[in-house]
Symmetry: C2
Subunit: 168 residues, 2 copies
DNA sequence: CAGTATCCGGTGCGATACTG
DNA sequence: CAGTATCGCACCGGATACTG
Protein backbone atom coordinates (compact mmCIF):
# COMPACT_ATOMS: atom_id res chain seq x y z
CA UNK A 1 0.00 0.00 0.00
CA UNK A 2 1.33 3.35 -0.92
CA UNK A 3 1.25 6.52 1.14
CA UNK A 4 -1.79 8.65 0.52
CA UNK A 5 -0.93 10.93 -2.39
CA UNK A 6 0.23 14.29 -1.20
CA UNK A 7 -0.83 15.88 -4.39
CA UNK A 8 -3.68 14.57 -6.44
CA UNK A 9 -2.45 11.30 -7.84
CA UNK A 10 -3.05 10.54 -11.44
CA UNK A 11 -4.69 7.31 -12.29
CA UNK A 12 -3.35 5.02 -13.47
CA UNK A 13 -0.20 5.95 -11.63
CA UNK A 14 3.04 5.51 -13.47
CA UNK A 15 4.78 4.77 -10.22
CA UNK A 16 3.12 1.38 -10.17
CA UNK A 17 5.30 0.22 -13.05
CA UNK A 18 8.84 -0.94 -13.39
CA UNK A 19 11.56 1.40 -14.53
CA UNK A 20 13.79 -1.35 -15.83
CA UNK A 21 12.74 -0.82 -19.44
CA UNK A 22 12.71 2.96 -19.28
CA UNK A 23 13.62 4.43 -22.67
CA UNK A 24 15.08 7.53 -21.06
CA UNK A 25 17.46 5.34 -19.08
CA UNK A 26 18.24 3.38 -22.21
CA UNK A 27 19.04 6.53 -24.12
CA UNK A 28 21.12 7.99 -21.32
CA UNK A 29 23.03 4.78 -21.05
CA UNK A 30 24.48 5.51 -24.47
CA UNK A 31 24.37 9.30 -24.48
CA UNK A 32 24.98 10.09 -20.85
CA UNK A 33 28.74 9.90 -20.71
CA UNK A 34 30.64 13.10 -20.56
CA UNK A 35 31.28 14.76 -23.96
CA UNK A 36 29.02 12.40 -25.89
CA UNK A 37 26.20 14.84 -26.57
CA UNK A 38 28.69 17.55 -27.43
CA UNK A 39 30.32 15.23 -29.90
CA UNK A 40 26.92 14.75 -31.47
CA UNK A 41 26.28 18.47 -31.49
CA UNK A 42 29.46 18.90 -33.49
CA UNK A 43 28.54 16.12 -35.87
CA UNK A 44 25.23 17.85 -36.52
CA UNK A 45 27.12 21.07 -37.11
CA UNK A 46 29.10 19.37 -39.86
CA UNK A 47 32.30 18.54 -38.01
CA UNK A 48 33.52 15.19 -39.22
CA UNK A 49 37.19 14.89 -38.50
CA UNK A 50 38.84 13.86 -35.30
CA UNK A 51 41.20 16.73 -34.83
CA UNK A 52 38.72 19.43 -35.60
CA UNK A 53 36.32 17.91 -33.15
CA UNK A 54 38.98 17.63 -30.52
CA UNK A 55 40.00 21.25 -30.99
CA UNK A 56 36.43 22.46 -30.66
CA UNK A 57 35.58 20.34 -27.67
CA UNK A 58 38.80 20.61 -25.76
CA UNK A 59 38.23 17.06 -24.63
CA UNK A 60 41.13 14.71 -24.04
CA UNK A 61 41.96 12.86 -27.21
CA UNK A 62 41.74 9.50 -25.53
CA UNK A 63 38.26 10.29 -24.28
CA UNK A 64 37.09 11.51 -27.65
CA UNK A 65 38.41 8.38 -29.26
CA UNK A 66 36.58 6.27 -26.73
CA UNK A 67 33.32 8.15 -27.19
CA UNK A 68 33.45 7.88 -30.93
CA UNK A 69 34.04 4.19 -30.72
CA UNK A 70 31.13 3.82 -28.34
CA UNK A 71 28.89 5.75 -30.71
CA UNK A 72 30.07 3.62 -33.57
CA UNK A 73 29.35 0.45 -31.63
CA UNK A 74 25.90 1.78 -30.87
CA UNK A 75 25.26 2.37 -34.56
CA UNK A 76 24.92 6.11 -34.13
CA UNK A 77 28.04 7.04 -36.00
CA UNK A 78 29.78 5.50 -38.95
CA UNK A 79 33.49 5.69 -39.66
CA UNK A 80 33.94 6.33 -43.37
CA UNK A 81 37.27 6.10 -45.13
CA UNK A 82 37.89 8.44 -48.01
CA UNK A 83 40.83 9.75 -50.00
CA UNK A 84 41.08 13.13 -51.57
CA UNK A 85 42.93 13.03 -54.89
CA UNK A 86 46.62 13.19 -54.24
CA UNK A 87 46.23 13.05 -50.48
CA UNK A 88 46.62 10.14 -48.17
CA UNK A 89 43.70 8.16 -46.87
CA UNK A 90 41.67 9.58 -44.07
CA UNK A 91 38.41 8.83 -42.51
CA UNK A 92 35.59 10.80 -41.16
CA UNK A 93 32.68 10.29 -38.86
CA UNK A 94 29.14 10.45 -40.10
CA UNK A 95 25.80 10.16 -38.45
CA UNK A 96 23.71 7.14 -39.31
CA UNK A 97 19.92 7.33 -39.44
CA UNK A 98 19.86 6.34 -35.82
CA UNK A 99 22.24 9.18 -35.12
CA UNK A 100 20.34 11.73 -37.18
CA UNK A 101 17.26 10.83 -35.23
CA UNK A 102 18.94 12.29 -32.15
CA UNK A 103 18.20 15.66 -33.66
CA UNK A 104 15.19 16.41 -31.48
CA UNK A 105 17.15 15.66 -28.33
CA UNK A 106 19.78 18.17 -29.32
CA UNK A 107 17.17 20.71 -30.29
CA UNK A 108 15.37 20.26 -26.99
CA UNK A 109 18.62 20.78 -25.09
CA UNK A 110 19.42 23.81 -27.20
CA UNK A 111 16.04 25.42 -26.67
CA UNK A 112 16.13 24.88 -22.94
CA UNK A 113 19.68 26.17 -22.72
CA UNK A 114 18.71 29.22 -24.74
CA UNK A 115 15.80 29.94 -22.46
CA UNK A 116 17.40 29.28 -19.10
CA UNK A 117 21.16 29.29 -19.28
CA UNK A 118 22.29 31.92 -21.71
CA UNK A 119 21.47 35.57 -21.86
CA UNK A 120 17.94 36.01 -23.20
CA UNK A 121 17.76 36.72 -26.88
CA UNK A 122 21.40 35.83 -27.37
CA UNK A 123 21.14 32.37 -28.84
CA UNK A 124 24.29 31.51 -30.78
CA UNK A 125 22.28 29.61 -33.35
CA UNK A 126 18.80 29.79 -34.79
CA UNK A 127 16.79 27.01 -36.34
CA UNK A 128 15.06 28.01 -39.51
CA UNK A 129 13.12 26.44 -42.34
CA UNK A 130 15.52 25.82 -45.19
CA UNK A 131 13.13 27.18 -47.78
CA UNK A 132 11.33 30.05 -46.16
CA UNK A 133 13.83 31.03 -43.48
CA UNK A 134 11.04 31.03 -40.92
CA UNK A 135 12.04 30.06 -37.38
CA UNK A 136 11.49 26.45 -36.42
CA UNK A 137 10.89 25.16 -32.93
CA UNK A 138 10.04 21.97 -31.15
CA UNK A 139 6.42 21.42 -30.14
CA UNK A 140 4.12 18.78 -28.78
CA UNK A 141 1.56 17.87 -31.39
CA UNK A 142 -1.45 15.67 -31.25
CA UNK A 143 -1.54 12.73 -33.59
CA UNK A 144 -4.29 12.78 -36.14
CA UNK A 145 -4.91 16.46 -36.59
CA UNK A 146 -1.33 17.51 -35.87
CA UNK A 147 -2.52 20.27 -33.58
CA UNK A 148 -0.13 21.69 -31.08
CA UNK A 149 -0.77 21.00 -27.42
CA UNK A 150 0.79 22.46 -24.30
CA UNK A 151 2.71 20.51 -21.69
CA UNK A 152 -0.28 20.94 -19.41
CA UNK A 153 -2.50 19.08 -21.84
CA UNK A 154 -0.06 16.22 -21.72
CA UNK A 155 -0.62 13.04 -19.82
CA UNK A 156 1.58 9.99 -19.46
CA UNK A 157 -0.13 6.64 -19.34
CA UNK A 158 1.19 3.09 -19.20
CA UNK A 159 1.97 1.81 -22.67
CA UNK A 160 2.02 -1.63 -24.29
CA UNK A 161 5.42 -2.39 -22.76
CA UNK A 162 4.56 -1.34 -19.22
CA UNK A 163 5.58 -3.84 -16.56
CA UNK A 164 3.45 -3.69 -13.41
CA UNK A 165 5.24 -3.92 -10.10
CA UNK A 166 4.41 -6.88 -7.93
CA UNK A 167 2.28 -6.26 -4.88
CA UNK A 168 0.10 -3.70 -6.61
CA UNK B 1 41.89 28.74 -44.17
CA UNK B 2 39.88 25.63 -43.67
CA UNK B 3 40.24 22.36 -45.47
CA UNK B 4 38.09 22.09 -48.57
CA UNK B 5 34.75 20.76 -47.41
CA UNK B 6 34.49 17.05 -47.90
CA UNK B 7 30.78 17.27 -48.11
CA UNK B 8 28.98 20.29 -49.41
CA UNK B 9 29.51 22.94 -46.76
CA UNK B 10 26.59 25.02 -45.68
CA UNK B 11 26.99 28.73 -45.71
CA UNK B 12 27.27 30.42 -43.36
CA UNK B 13 29.14 27.63 -41.63
CA UNK B 14 28.45 27.13 -37.98
CA UNK B 15 31.98 25.94 -37.48
CA UNK B 16 33.20 29.49 -37.86
CA UNK B 17 31.70 30.38 -34.50
CA UNK B 18 32.70 29.86 -30.91
CA UNK B 19 31.25 27.04 -28.90
CA UNK B 20 31.85 28.74 -25.58
CA UNK B 21 28.26 29.93 -25.26
CA UNK B 22 26.68 26.75 -26.57
CA UNK B 23 23.30 26.19 -24.94
CA UNK B 24 23.62 22.43 -25.29
CA UNK B 25 26.82 22.54 -23.30
CA UNK B 26 25.18 24.84 -20.78
CA UNK B 27 22.30 22.45 -20.36
CA UNK B 28 24.51 19.40 -20.12
CA UNK B 29 26.63 21.13 -17.54
CA UNK B 30 23.65 20.96 -15.21
CA UNK B 31 21.93 17.85 -16.49
CA UNK B 32 24.86 15.76 -17.59
CA UNK B 33 25.89 14.18 -14.33
CA UNK B 34 24.94 10.61 -13.75
CA UNK B 35 21.41 10.05 -12.41
CA UNK B 36 20.31 13.64 -12.90
CA UNK B 37 18.01 13.09 -15.86
CA UNK B 38 16.59 9.99 -14.24
CA UNK B 39 15.83 11.98 -11.14
CA UNK B 40 13.97 14.41 -13.34
CA UNK B 41 12.14 11.60 -15.07
CA UNK B 42 10.88 10.46 -11.68
CA UNK B 43 9.87 13.97 -10.69
CA UNK B 44 7.82 14.22 -13.86
CA UNK B 45 6.26 10.88 -13.03
CA UNK B 46 5.07 12.30 -9.73
CA UNK B 47 7.73 10.97 -7.40
CA UNK B 48 8.45 13.61 -4.82
CA UNK B 49 9.97 11.98 -1.80
CA UNK B 50 13.56 11.08 -1.25
CA UNK B 51 13.18 7.48 -0.26
CA UNK B 52 10.79 6.58 -3.01
CA UNK B 53 13.09 8.12 -5.53
CA UNK B 54 16.05 6.31 -4.09
CA UNK B 55 14.24 3.00 -4.19
CA UNK B 56 13.23 3.47 -7.83
CA UNK B 57 16.61 4.64 -8.99
CA UNK B 58 18.81 2.35 -7.00
CA UNK B 59 21.28 5.19 -6.73
CA UNK B 60 23.42 5.65 -3.63
CA UNK B 61 21.66 7.91 -1.17
CA UNK B 62 24.60 10.24 -0.93
CA UNK B 63 24.64 10.69 -4.68
CA UNK B 64 20.94 11.30 -4.89
CA UNK B 65 21.21 13.88 -2.16
CA UNK B 66 23.98 15.62 -4.03
CA UNK B 67 22.07 15.65 -7.30
CA UNK B 68 18.94 17.03 -5.70
CA UNK B 69 20.93 19.80 -4.10
CA UNK B 70 22.52 20.61 -7.41
CA UNK B 71 19.12 20.78 -9.07
CA UNK B 72 17.85 22.94 -6.26
CA UNK B 73 20.82 25.30 -6.62
CA UNK B 74 20.12 25.48 -10.33
CA UNK B 75 16.52 26.48 -9.65
CA UNK B 76 15.13 23.37 -11.30
CA UNK B 77 13.77 21.80 -8.17
CA UNK B 78 12.30 23.27 -5.04
CA UNK B 79 12.37 21.67 -1.62
CA UNK B 80 8.96 22.16 -0.05
CA UNK B 81 8.20 21.45 3.57
CA UNK B 82 4.75 20.18 4.42
CA UNK B 83 3.01 18.47 7.25
CA UNK B 84 0.18 16.05 6.95
CA UNK B 85 -2.35 16.40 9.76
CA UNK B 86 -1.15 14.41 12.71
CA UNK B 87 2.12 13.48 11.08
CA UNK B 88 5.49 15.01 11.54
CA UNK B 89 6.96 17.51 9.14
CA UNK B 90 8.44 16.30 5.91
CA UNK B 91 9.48 17.84 2.73
CA UNK B 92 9.20 16.99 -0.86
CA UNK B 93 10.82 17.96 -4.11
CA UNK B 94 8.91 19.80 -6.75
CA UNK B 95 9.76 21.00 -10.18
CA UNK B 96 9.91 24.72 -10.69
CA UNK B 97 8.88 26.33 -13.98
CA UNK B 98 12.46 26.01 -15.10
CA UNK B 99 12.28 22.34 -14.20
CA UNK B 100 8.95 21.73 -15.88
CA UNK B 101 10.37 23.24 -19.01
CA UNK B 102 12.74 20.28 -19.21
CA UNK B 103 9.76 18.28 -20.33
CA UNK B 104 10.63 18.33 -24.02
CA UNK B 105 14.12 17.06 -23.31
CA UNK B 106 12.71 14.09 -21.44
CA UNK B 107 10.15 13.47 -24.14
CA UNK B 108 12.81 13.61 -26.83
CA UNK B 109 14.93 11.10 -24.94
CA UNK B 110 11.92 8.88 -24.39
CA UNK B 111 10.92 8.90 -28.03
CA UNK B 112 14.41 8.12 -29.23
CA UNK B 113 14.77 5.37 -26.66
CA UNK B 114 11.44 3.92 -27.68
CA UNK B 115 12.44 3.91 -31.32
CA UNK B 116 16.00 2.66 -31.03
CA UNK B 117 16.66 1.01 -27.72
CA UNK B 118 13.63 -0.92 -26.62
CA UNK B 119 11.67 -3.55 -28.45
CA UNK B 120 9.54 -1.89 -31.13
CA UNK B 121 5.98 -1.21 -30.08
CA UNK B 122 6.75 -1.97 -26.46
CA UNK B 123 7.01 1.51 -25.01
CA UNK B 124 6.41 1.43 -21.26
CA UNK B 125 4.59 4.74 -21.40
CA UNK B 126 2.50 6.61 -23.92
CA UNK B 127 1.99 10.32 -24.18
CA UNK B 128 -1.60 11.30 -24.77
CA UNK B 129 -3.76 14.37 -24.85
CA UNK B 130 -5.44 14.73 -21.49
CA UNK B 131 -8.80 15.52 -23.02
CA UNK B 132 -9.07 13.40 -26.10
CA UNK B 133 -6.64 10.61 -25.26
CA UNK B 134 -5.05 11.02 -28.67
CA UNK B 135 -1.34 10.25 -28.85
CA UNK B 136 1.01 13.20 -28.56
CA UNK B 137 4.47 13.42 -30.02
CA UNK B 138 7.27 15.90 -30.42
CA UNK B 139 7.61 17.65 -33.75
CA UNK B 140 9.48 20.46 -35.42
CA UNK B 141 7.07 23.20 -36.34
CA UNK B 142 7.50 26.37 -38.31
CA UNK B 143 6.78 29.61 -36.53
CA UNK B 144 3.95 31.63 -37.99
CA UNK B 145 1.80 28.96 -39.53
CA UNK B 146 2.70 26.27 -37.03
CA UNK B 147 3.20 23.78 -39.81
CA UNK B 148 5.25 20.71 -39.17
CA UNK B 149 8.59 20.40 -40.92
CA UNK B 150 10.97 17.48 -41.22
CA UNK B 151 14.52 17.40 -39.94
CA UNK B 152 15.64 17.66 -43.54
CA UNK B 153 13.89 20.98 -43.93
CA UNK B 154 15.83 22.24 -40.95
CA UNK B 155 18.77 24.54 -41.14
CA UNK B 156 20.94 25.97 -38.39
CA UNK B 157 22.18 29.48 -38.84
CA UNK B 158 24.18 31.81 -36.61
CA UNK B 159 21.92 33.64 -34.19
CA UNK B 160 22.08 37.00 -32.41
CA UNK B 161 24.48 35.61 -29.82
CA UNK B 162 26.90 33.99 -32.25
CA UNK B 163 30.55 34.75 -31.60
CA UNK B 164 32.74 34.60 -34.70
CA UNK B 165 36.10 32.93 -34.34
CA UNK B 166 39.10 35.09 -34.92
CA UNK B 167 41.00 34.55 -38.14
CA UNK B 168 37.87 34.04 -40.16
C1' DC C 1 11.30 8.95 6.81
C1' DA C 2 15.08 11.83 5.18
C1' DG C 3 18.99 12.50 4.97
C1' DT C 4 24.53 13.05 6.35
C1' DA C 5 29.08 10.83 7.36
C1' DT C 6 32.68 7.68 6.46
C1' DC C 7 35.32 4.25 4.27
C1' DC C 8 37.04 1.82 0.38
C1' DG C 9 37.85 -0.30 -4.14
C1' DG C 10 37.04 0.76 -8.88
C1' DT C 11 36.28 3.71 -12.79
C1' DG C 12 36.39 7.86 -15.29
C1' DC C 13 38.59 12.07 -16.27
C1' DG C 14 42.26 15.32 -17.53
C1' DA C 15 47.06 16.29 -18.85
C1' DT C 16 50.94 14.94 -21.14
C1' DA C 17 53.61 12.37 -24.16
C1' DC C 18 54.37 9.18 -27.86
C1' DT C 19 53.37 6.58 -32.54
C1' DG C 20 51.88 5.57 -37.38
C1' DC D 1 46.15 14.00 -39.08
C1' DA D 2 44.51 10.49 -36.09
C1' DG D 3 44.85 8.34 -32.77
C1' DT D 4 47.22 5.19 -28.43
C1' DA D 5 49.72 4.95 -23.89
C1' DT D 6 50.36 6.30 -19.39
C1' DC D 7 49.59 8.25 -14.95
C1' DG D 8 47.74 10.71 -10.97
C1' DC D 9 43.53 12.24 -9.01
C1' DA D 10 38.70 12.98 -8.47
C1' DC D 11 34.56 11.07 -8.40
C1' DC D 12 31.44 7.14 -8.35
C1' DG D 13 29.22 3.03 -6.35
C1' DG D 14 28.26 0.18 -2.47
C1' DA D 15 28.07 -0.74 2.26
C1' DT D 16 27.44 0.68 6.75
C1' DA D 17 26.39 3.55 10.38
C1' DC D 18 24.69 7.62 12.59
C1' DT D 19 21.41 11.93 13.29
C1' DG D 20 17.03 14.46 13.45
Amino acid sequence: MREPPVTGGRSPDLRDYETSNCPVAGAMDILGEKWTLLVLRDLFAGVRRFDEMQARLGAPRALLSKRLRRLEDAGIVQRVAYREPGARARHEYRLTDKGKDLNTILVALKEWGDRWVNAPGRAPTDLVDRETGAPVRLALVRGGDGREVTARDLRMVPGPGAIPKRQA
